[in-house]
């Protein structure tokens, strides 16, 4: 969801440097470093030193919601695009693509993660859990409905995943902890009151389970 030429030098005629060009030229091995440091300038030098893999599409097997999916993907493809476009798991939304808003939150090995911040190739051997895996009567989903913690609903699946991960891990959390713990997601319609009420109810019970 980002402008492919926005992060180049702000001169449309000039040459620039951007994440996906970098990832394309350097391969997945380096890409991990790039994301870990999230400092593209610094990692450009590392790229030269690293063991550069092919930028071409490669076979990859991803475990998503307990199912193995065999795909052929270029190393630069994000987990977010893979989930949405290749696996049609569109509950995670492409809103900022710059790890700011949390609309693409999924769980990787149980940990809430922005799917736009991971390459699909990085997730080999890990367990990816998306909102589609939640049972129809999931208490977090039910809580969002009960407290009307949604309006347009576009940020909601990401918030549900973040809330689930937080409440599972932090039973008994205080209001201040809930506010801090759910601070990684953004809603535009203004549903924070309902989300807070939902999360507080869950943590005072027994977490998101």
């Amino acid at each position: 969801m980002r402008d492919p030429r926005e992060e180049t030098i702000p001169n449309a005629n000039g040459s620039g440097f951007n994440r996906r060009d970098f990832l394309r030229g350097s391969g997945a091995a380096v890409a991990v470093t790039a994301l870990a440091t999230s400092d593209q300038g610094a990692t450009a030098q590392d790229a030269k030193k690293a063991n550069v893999a092919s930028a071409k599409a490669q076979d990859v097997t991803l475990n998503v919601n307990g199912k193995e999916h065999k795909l052929s993907l270029e190393p630069r493809v994000t987990l977010l695009d893979t989930l949405r476009d290749d696996l049609n798991l569109t509950g995670c939304k492409d809103v900022c693509d710059t790890t700011n808003c949390g609309a693409c939150t999924v769980l990787i090995d149980g940990k809430p993660t922005y799917a736009c911040s991971r390459l699909a190739h990085e997730c080999v051997g890990k367990k990816v859990t998306t909102i589609e895996s939640l049972a129809a009567n999931d208490p977090v989903v039910a809580g969002f409905v009960k407290h009307d913690a949604q309006q347009c609903g576009f940020c909601t699946p990401g918030f549900v995943m973040a809330t689930k991960a937080f409440c599972d891990k932090n039973p008994g959390a205080t209001l201040a902890q809930v506010r801090a713990g759910l601070g990684g997601n953004i809603c535009r319609c203004g549903t924070y009151v309902g989300i807070t009420a939902c999360a507080m109810e869950l943590v005072t019970k027994k977490g998101g389970k």
Partner: protein, 721 residues
């Protein structure tokens, strides 16, 4: 004798659903990620499109060559929005689009485009009136006078001169604008992110013809939108990018999904115009405002040279003596689109701040001064305002907490209170619907409306369940397709009246027909029949069950049509609303925090109390965003929109909103008014209320909203100097 049922809402006390807190019917679908938005459309063979947008203040296209983009692996179609010699008048203006098998390939394609331009002069400084005049970038938008301002100023007890402002913001829809288009046997089908399902097919038809010489009948265009990820007034049209997607789709014979990228979304898909004002305001010793003299300016971008409406200024209050004058600035910024309650947030931010300042000058509480001038507000709202001000003051503890301006405490962190009031029309839009009673007892409503997150679907179901005396799950609400009977666009808080009126009318007509059949079968007078709890009643005697009654209908059931708006009392218009803020201001860092924010809001007959309150909470939170952090920042030197992303375009997060207290003002007199829209009003008074609270805390007016730390510190520093 045919049954004739009166078209009206029932007695309030008898309602089973109306006015109750009902959870939204599509809540699970949305919260579980099952809801499909236009951005999620992914039909077989779908191509993904990306745009190249202009990076600069203004420029003229020197060359544009898309050949290399077409050579990029995976790229299937390209489209040029401009040609050599065309002028690009703002950052983000569309240059070209590329559709490819994969998103990353489309991005490669965009990067392969050869595009050069000659830089042109630009002007983007939205509050610089003198600079704009020097650059010949202003438009005189008129002035007018009422009464004798000069005489009133001379006789006034106090006169205050102030400067006020409110910056441009972007809509920042989390689902960017866009669509997924496909052609099937000459027919165009569009999954469109829109607030205007019924109105968009004709827009696609005319734009395809005009821009690309592609002919298609409106009857062969279907627009689909079950869910829309935010619109706030910016999603009413097919838009150039939607039309380009349809064109590339036709060329390739493949579905094309084109959603704007985040930066382009912020730059070109809608902004709320800015407003700045120099105000002279005067009052007598009792706080009655006797004179108003203002010159306001601002810009609505798009080289249009507009600003907020002269005729609506000052806001809500119509003082006996006033001068007003407006100037529009012509700026190289993305064009405005309607932003929730246009242009009331700006009007309020420039009016109620000045009223607060004159109150401060008199040493009076803002509550007293607002009340002293209520006779200058629209007559039908005066009693409502008085009641709402008193209630809001109770809720926030105004009389205990209030202190004169600048007496917000001795420490670095000062605390203060502020208030503001607003109004909005909210009249029902024109719309039709079909209601069906099926022989099995199930009920359907069909209309080409949309649920933009306000709870439209739930409201329609509640109206039908209430009218037929059945449960919500027996009602199927079908909407979000232009195939259904036409309904209005969801803008201006017109939808709730626009759908509940026609559905109630159609349902009452259908019920009359059903009662005819029941009356004949059971030998009773249809006019004595009622329905409640899934049964048909003759007085207090049960006649038959709802299901048994519907079983009498034969195979066709009943189908009726409802229209609106009508003058039958089901819907009406114009609400008030009062907001009060309690804030803390850190005078060392300039950070403003909301302690409490109270809203007391009327909206006539409340359909769903739960989603109604959600609208108000949402309004307050959007209001906190534009009051404290959110703004479009254009760089004077380059003309670029430099914070067009979610990192630097600052929206509040869940911990940034303080405690929100929402109370719906709902005496029986409000119920009797019928349904009135609620989406816009709660977002209006926030800016002025929060700015006034900061002024009360610090004794210093921070002129321009949003009250960022820098603006707060600058104002404090200027006041000391």
């Amino acid at each position: 004798m045919a049954t004739e049922l009166k078209v009206a809402w029932g007695p309030r006390k008898d309602n089973v659903y109306l006015g109750k807190e009902i959870t939204r019917l599509d809540g699970v679908e949305k919260a579980s990620g099952a809801a499909k938005y236009a951005a999620d459309a992914n039909p077989k063979g779908c191509l993904y499109a990306k745009v190249l947008s202009f990076k600069g203040g203004a420029g003229k296209v020197k060359s544009l060559n898309l050949d290399d983009a077409l050579k990029v692996p995976g790229v299937k179609a390209v489209h040029a929005f401009v040609k050599e010699g065309d002028e690009l008048q703002w950052d983000g203006a569309l240059v070209a689009a590329v559709a490819a098998e994969r998103q990353e390939q489309a991005e490669d394609g965009v990067r392969a485009i050869k595009f050069t331009f000659d830089t042109m002069e630009h002007f983007v400084d939205e509050d610089d009136l003198k600079g704009a005049e020097a650059a010949k970038r202003t438009k005189d938008l008129g002035n007018n006078t009422k009464g004798d301002v000069e005489a009133a100023l001379k006789s006034a007890a106090v006169v205050h001169k102030g400067q006020y402002g409110i910056a441009t913001i972007s809509h920042m829809c989390l689902e960017t604008h866009g669509s997924c288009t496909r052609w099937e046997e000459g027919k165009l089908i569009v999954n469109h992110s829109t607030q205007n399902v019924s109105g968009t097919p004709a827009n696609f038809v005319s734009e395809l013809q005009k821009q690309h010489n592609i002919s298609v009948d409106a009857a062969d265009v279907t627009v689909l939108c079950q869910f829309v990820g935010g619109g706030f007034g910016s999603k009413f049209a097919a838009d150039d990018w939607g039309v380009a997607a349809a064109k590339m789709s036709k060329e390739t014979g493949r579905p094309v999904r084109l959603m704007l990228d985040r930066a382009t979304e912020l730059k070109i898909a809608g902004t709320r115009p800015s407003g700045f004002a120099e105000v002279t305001i005067a009052a007598d010793k009792d706080g009655k405002i006797v004179a108003w003299d203002s010159h306001h300016w601002g810009t609505n971008g798009g080289m249009k040279g507009g600003t907020i409406n002269l005729a609506q200024f000052p806001y809500v209050f119509d003082f006996d003596n006033r001068n007003r004058k407006a100037t529009g600035l012509v700026t190289n910024a993305g064009p405005d689109r309607a932003w929730r309650a246009p242009p009331h947030p700006q009007l309020c931010a420039l009016t109620d701040t000045a009223i607060d300042d004159i109150a401060a000058k008199l040493g009076k509480s803002a509550v007293d001064v607002f009340l002293a001038n209520i006779d200058k507000t629209p007559e039908k709202l005066q009693a409502t305002y008085v009641a709402e001000i008193k209630r809001a003051a109770e809720l926030i503890g105004w009389s205990k907490k209030w202190h004169p301006h600048g007496k917000g405490g001795d420490g670095d962190v000062k605390r203060g209170l502020g208030m503001a009031i607003h109004t909005w029309g909210g009249r029902a839009h024109a719309g039709t619907c079909t209601v069906r009673i099926n022989p099995d007892g199930s009920v359907e409503s069909l209309s080409g409306t949309q649920d933009i997150g306000t709870g439209t679907r739930t409201a329609i179901a509640m109206v039908l369940a209430e009218t037929f005396g059945i449960t919500l799950d027996a009602v199927k609400v079908r909407y979000g397709s232009s195939v259904y009977p036409r309904s209005g666009p969801s803008g201006g808080s017109t939808t709730i009246g626009g759908v509940t009126g026609p559905n109630r009318r159609a349902a009452i007509a259908a019920l009359g027909k059903l009662f005819d059949v029941v009356a004949e079968k059971h030998k009773v007078d249809g006019n004595n029949l009622t329905t409640k709890g899934g049964k048909i009643w003759n007085g207090d005697k049960e006649v038959c069950t709802w299901k048994a009654a519907c079983g009498l209908l034969g195979m066709m059931g009943i189908e009726t049509t409802g229209e609106g708006p009508k003058d039958d009392g089901l819907t009406s218009e114009q609400v008030g609303g009062v907001q009060m803020a309690d804030v803390s201001v850190d005078t060392k860092t300039g950070i403003v925090r909301i302690n409490q924010f109270v809203a007391v809001q009327d909206c006539g007959l409340i359909v769903d109390l739960l989603t109604a309150k959600s609208q108000v909470y949402g309004g307050l939170i959007m209001g906190i965003a534009y009051s404290l952090t959110e703004e479009q920042i254009l760089d004077n030197k380059t003309g670029r929109y430099i914070n067009a992303d979610l990192e630097n375009y600052k929206l509040p997060r869940i911990g940034d909103i303080g405690e929100l207290i929402v109370e719906m003002y709902q005496p029986d007199s409000e119920y009797e008014r019928g349904v009135i829209g609620l989406g816009e009003p709660p977002v209006i008074a926030c800016g002025a209320a929060i700015s006034n609270a900061v002024a009360n805390a610090t004794g210093v007016r921070v002129p321009t909203i949003p009250l960022t730390p820098k603006r707060v510190l600058d104002a404090l520093k200027a006041a000391k100097a």
